[in-house]
């Protein structure tokens, strides 16, 4: 029994008022799906049913796209840009006002710790809307010419790992640039998107500017292949991203994709060790490793291998796994049974391939989907667990001798989303950054996001950028 046992510190669920069932959000109103089909969304920590959610059929997709098109032509593209901006400012403010409610709801539906949804996700959501609100009437300064025009209607499909944040990354720039949207949240995490729809109503956003269609893979496919949309934005697996690229290839639709990754987190011998260990932990165990840009490959310089690993193992023993709504929880639930199965499968592969597996002692709750933070050492580039995205709290540890070797190993992957570099030497940071084939390079930090900072991948991690001046391009006819 530890000397200093932290008592349960639960965040109250009372702030959230869950409805028994939710409809689709089309043309400013909630409406049942055309064929009445629905599905349930559960809490991955307890497996309790949270609510029933409508499943959008192709007919609903038609309706939503039509509503978005009408709103685009009659309202949104006619409105002076500064008024568009003020709608986004309103939405940003309401998100701030309802931030605790949104954080609790996100943790309930997704399984991530309340500390993360409260301190990282929701503040970033508000920040994205604030940042892009300001661009609406300043597009002539964005570097795309004197009067850049929007594309029209955007179809957007987002994943379950950062539900409301991914929604913000998609909707804020789209609206700021003058487009209207139809967005499909992931089937396991629809609730914050539906609450966002309510927020649009509270902001008096003109009907049809934002439409939310809940559903699964079929709904997503129907949306991105719909002939009535001008722009497709997708964040999710590389496999589905390629399918979308194929589907859109013969069309005139503009496409941006933000896909998977297998990022290298590179620790040099002169790294600030304690902060580097924090960066390793943050890189792969933040959000249970459900992060496309996770530092899932630790590349540690051989000369400091023992020291770094010892520090890492000691640090992992202080990670607290458990109830996502407990304010002291560091590691929450795996989002779904399906994802848990994938993580287990690949971990078994790792052992079979000969890597050594280690986890800190960890009590897993009986109900729900849980996986302990896991470290594989003795991993080489040839191992599957060094190449395939696991999308869970599993770290593969490899070594290197020289900077050139680190670069070679880091780049030796079809992915290219992010990378981390830990060293005290400025010139080395810049040398590495210049050579790493990744869209985001974090030096002496990791998993840092900001609406003004462009995010996106090289190679099979996708194309296009989200955030910053560069992110506007995706939603402009340039």
């Amino acid at each position: 029994m530890p000397k200093f046992e932290y008592a349960p510190a639960p965040e109250s669920r009372a702030i959230v008022s869950l409805r028994e069932s939710y409809g689709l959000f089309i043309n400013g109103e909630f409406t049942p799906s055309a064929d009445g089909r629905a599905f349930k969304t559960i809490s991955p920590a307890t497996e309790e049913v949270l609510a029933e959610v409508a499943e959008a059929s192709p007919a609903d997709v038609d309706r939503a796209v039509a509503a978005a098109r009408r709103a685009y032509e009659r309202t949104w593209s006619v409105l002076p840009a500064r008024e568009r901006g003020k709608y986004l400012f309103r939405i940003a403010r309401i998100i701030q006002e309802r931030s605790r409610e949104l954080a609790v709801l996100e943790s309930l539906d997704n399984g991530k710790p309340i500390r993360e949804s409260r301190d990282v996700d929701i503040p970033l959501v508000a920040a994205h809307f604030f940042y892009h609100a300001g661009w609406a009437d300043k597009l002539e300064y964005a570097g795309y010419g004197p009067a850049p025009k929007p594309l029209g209607v955007a179809g957007q499909v987002i994943p379950w790992n950062f539900p409301l944040l991914m929604l913000a990354w998609k909707i804020a720039p789209a609206l700021a640039c003058g487009n209207t949207v139809v967005l499909k949240p992931a089937e396991t995490t629809p609730l914050t998107a539906l609450t966002f729809a309510e927020i649009c109503q509270q902001a008096d956003l003109p009907p049809g500017v934002v439409n939310i269609l809940t559903g699964a893979g079929d709904t997503g496919k129907a949306l991105v292949t719909h002939p009535g949309i001008d722009k497709v934005a997708f964040t999710g697996s590389t496999e589905v991203g390629k399918e979308i690229a194929r589907d859109c290839a013969p069309t005139r639709k503009k496409v941006t994709l933000e896909l998977g990754g297998k990022a290298a987190n590179i620790v040099f011998e002169d790294a600030p060790v304690d902060q580097a260990v924090e960066g390793i932990v943050n890189g792969i165990f933040f959000n249970q490793g459900h992060v496309c840009c996770a530092g899932s490959r630790l590349l540690v310089q051989e000369s400091v291998y023992d020291q770094v690993l010892a520090s890492l193992q000691r640090r992992l023993a202080t990670l607290r796994l458990g109830d996502p709504l407990d304010k002291n929880t560091d590691v929450g639930a795996i989002n779904s049974a399906a994802q848990l199965a994938k993580i287990r499968e690949l971990s078994e592969v790792g052992e079979a391939e000969g890597a050594q597996r280690w986890s800190p002692p960890c009590e897993l709750p009986v109900k729900g989907f849980w996986f302990p933070p896991t470290v594989f050492t003795g991993v080489s580039q040839a191992h599957r667990i060094a190449r395939e995205e696991i999308f869970g709290p599993v770290l593969s540890v490899l070594t290197f001798r020289t900077p050139a070797e680190a670069v070679e190993k880091a780049n030796n992957t079809p992915y290219g989303l992010s990378a981390g570099v830990w060293t005290d030497k400025g010139s080395r940071i810049l040398w590495m950054a210049a050579r790493l084939r990744a869209g985001v390079v974090w030096a002496n930090t990791f998993n840092k996001f900001d609406p003004s900072s462009p995010f996106g991948g090289y190679k099979e991690s996708g194309y296009g950028r989200e955030g910053g001046r560069h992110g506007l391009e995706a939603y402009l006819d340039v």
Partner: protein, 322 residues
Amino acid sequence: MSAPVDIRAGAGSSLREFLHGLPGVDQVGAEARAAMLASRSIKTTAKQWALDMAISMIDLTTLEGQDTPGKVRAICAKAKRPDPADPTAPQVAAVCVYPDLAHLAAAEVRGTGIHVASVATAFPSGRTSLEVKLADAKYAIDAGADEVDMVIDRGAFLAGDYQLVYDEIAAVREVVESSATFSGSAGRAHLKVILETGELVTLDNVRRASWLAMLAGADFIKTSTGKVSPAATLPVTLVMLEAVRDFRATHGRQVGVKPAGGIRTAKDAIRYLVLVNETAGEDWLDPDWFRIGASSLLNDLLMQRTKLATGRYSGPDYFTLD
């Protein structure tokens, strides 16, 4: 105690190389870690435990030019019975006074187990000759202090004369250790070394000064005199806790940590305990290895303690000023 390099007199450059070869501290990362740990939510039974532990770790301090015997008597009385209405409140760890009042404090707390810490070596500035500093330390011990809180020469440290700083600490340690009049409960008097982190400024300097003090024989490393702002902060204490943790791992000797100055609320104090718990570990969650130098903090801890026990928010009228 073993040292990794030959750091006896004349080997100053090896000491410099060792200290400059320690891993750097990334300030942003360290501050972020400290802030994350400060967001831990400590409630109910955990809070109860933490409040009592924090009280038992306090070095109740009065270090003012205007201190009088009356003031010292009052602080000793409070140290023995912090809460006039509740005898179950724990005693504090020590009282901390200037050396010329140490004999009085020693008499007041004799037999209670409360330590008498005296500042020494021309506290707070440390700006005088080594002879005077050693005489100051001897004076404190002879007066009955069983702990000496010395200050390092920050000027020498910032000028890169690490050997001088080392030698001074070692010399004071010898004086403190070899006092014949020591009468406390431990085997010998203990030495706390004040780094004055507010003047060292960078976390790299805090790390180096921590190691230097431990190599020279400190029993405790302490953040501040409390006379300079900023005094103790969470990031500084984080770096010091990492240092004592690593020092024990490489040298086999446990050194204590004392943040002092600027810790005013129970919330602050509990944050420090969380920091200890998740950095150096629970071996340091004990008044023998972690102290908090404070004065007004005690009343806030008592108020929170009372609130937990009675369910009502309390007010300053119910606690003594000293």
